[in-house]
């Protein structure tokens, strides 16, 4: 049956739906496009013949089947690309403007481009809010305290805060820090808020 490869792509997406982005399957995409090319050319031929020879309508069903298969392949390809992009978009909000290298490796050239365009649009939008801009990726929950107590989950070495002071992020070390500095690190799983 036509459209089997396309279905494989979708199954791939379905399997990885709770995880992170899988590698872009360039191979299968190409095979689907090849199948579409074959279907398209066969239909061009049959349609030309039907138009020329009005009395011979015997190819009509085959033309319909190929046409439906083309539409099906198209749907699967678009859904594959679209769903991956939505995941990449979500990653901007979860990981920040720089993606972990192992995720980036799984993206196609065009997807990387898309991500940087999205980044740019988001930044310029955020800059345009109010007199000084507003970082929408911060304060996703209403802030309760100015300072919070956090524990470090893994060794990250020394980092510098906005006011210039340095802290050493050693595994299991506790810190009492301004909320605004911690939010990003907590989101990335490096720090964990303590009660």
């Amino acid at each position: 049956m036509f459209g089997e490869k396309a279905l494989d792509l979708i199954r791939e997406l379905h399997r990885s739906r709770d995880g992170t982005l899988g590698p872009y399957n360039e191979d299968v995409v190409r095979q689907i496009l090849e199948e579409m090319q074959i279907l398209y050319e066969a239909n061009q031929e049959d349609v030309a013949q039907v138009v020329q020879n009005d009395s011979d309508q015997s190819s009509l069903t085959a033309i319909q089947v190929r046409h439906d298969s083309l539409q099906r392949n198209k749907r699967c390809l678009l859904a594959y690309l679209y769903n991956r992009l939505m995941k990449i978009r979500d990653m901007r909000w979860e990981f920040g403007s720089v993606l972990p290298p192992d995720i980036r490796r799984n993206m196609s050239e065009r997807e990387v481009q898309w991500f940087s365009n999205y980044n740019r649009s988001l930044s310029s939008y955020m800059r345009s809010i109010g007199p000084r801009g507003l970082d929408l990726t911060q304060d996703l929950k209403p802030p309760q305290n100015v300072f919070i107590e956090v524990r470090c989950v893994e060794d990250r070495g020394e980092i510098e805060l906005d006011d210039g002071s340095r802290i050493l992020l050693k595994k299991n070390s506790m810190h009492f820090l301004p909320r605004s500095q911690c939010e990003r690190l907590i989101r990335q799983g490096i720090l964990k808020q303590v009660a």
Binding site: F2, T20, T61, Q64, R72, L140, K141
Partner: protein
């Protein structure tokens, strides 16, 4: 922001939905009412160049929706077992014990799509879908908001996709409530996507 696993809630499919694409790939027993020139290779049981009139094949729903359309009539089709008389009787007897996931994970969605085609059992099938859902829904609602997933995982296995999504919603709201009770909702947390990613990295480096 998970758009991919929304699925159709009616006669219209969601074009980009992964679930809808998987659902519409399920097959129906069909018979060709006209010959199909040049596509004989689709029929594994014959070496002929064309598909002959009367050939029986299991065709995917996406193709049946087009070929069996009342205005075209290239094929005739029949429902699969879960939607026919015998099974409908089983569901009428006691819908809550049936394993809807096993007989086709998209029981309701696929059934709804079948209703867009003419079939002499469509009225009974439609009633069956509604009654089955009504009977099972109560239990699902109760389970999902009263107990945690590990207690319920066995029950979850017998649910079809629509029911599983409802179940997840119930669980999520139970979780949120309990977190709020404990004051957890005021704490910042790392996102789920990030935690899973780090876990996988840790597992891989071990």
């Amino acid at each position: 922001m998970d758009v991919s696993h929304k699925s159709s809630s009616g006669m219209l499919q969601d074009y980009m939905s992964i679930d809808d694409i998987l659902m519409s790939s399920e097959r129906l027993p069909s018979v060709f009412l006209v010959p199909v020139k040049g596509l004989g290779f689709l029929d594994a049981s014959t070496n002929k160049k064309d598909i002959a009139v009367g050939t029986k094949m299991d065709l995917p729903l996406w193709l049946v929706l087009s070929l069996a359309h009342p205005r075209k009539k290239f094929i005739s089709f029949d429902y699969t077992k879960p939607y026919k008389g015998t099974y409908r009787e089983i569901l009428k007897a006691d819908a809550s014990v049936v394993d809807l996931h096993k007989i086709g994970p998209f029981f309701y969605a696929f059934g709804q799509q079948l209703l867009t085609l003419n079939h002499n059992e469509s009225l009974q099938m439609a009633k069956c879908l509604v009654l089955t859902f009504m009977e099972r829904f109560r239990k699902i609602m109760d389970w999902s908001i009263n107990a945690y997933e590990h207690d319920n995982s066995e029950r979850q296995e017998k649910l079809d996709e629509v029911e599983r999504n409802l179940f997840k919603l119930g669980q999520k709201s139970l979780q949120s409530f309990q977190q709020w009770e404990m004051g957890e909702s005021r704490k910042l947390s790392s996102s789920e996507l990030v935690s899973r990613h780090r876990k996988r990295k840790r597992d891989m480096s071990e």
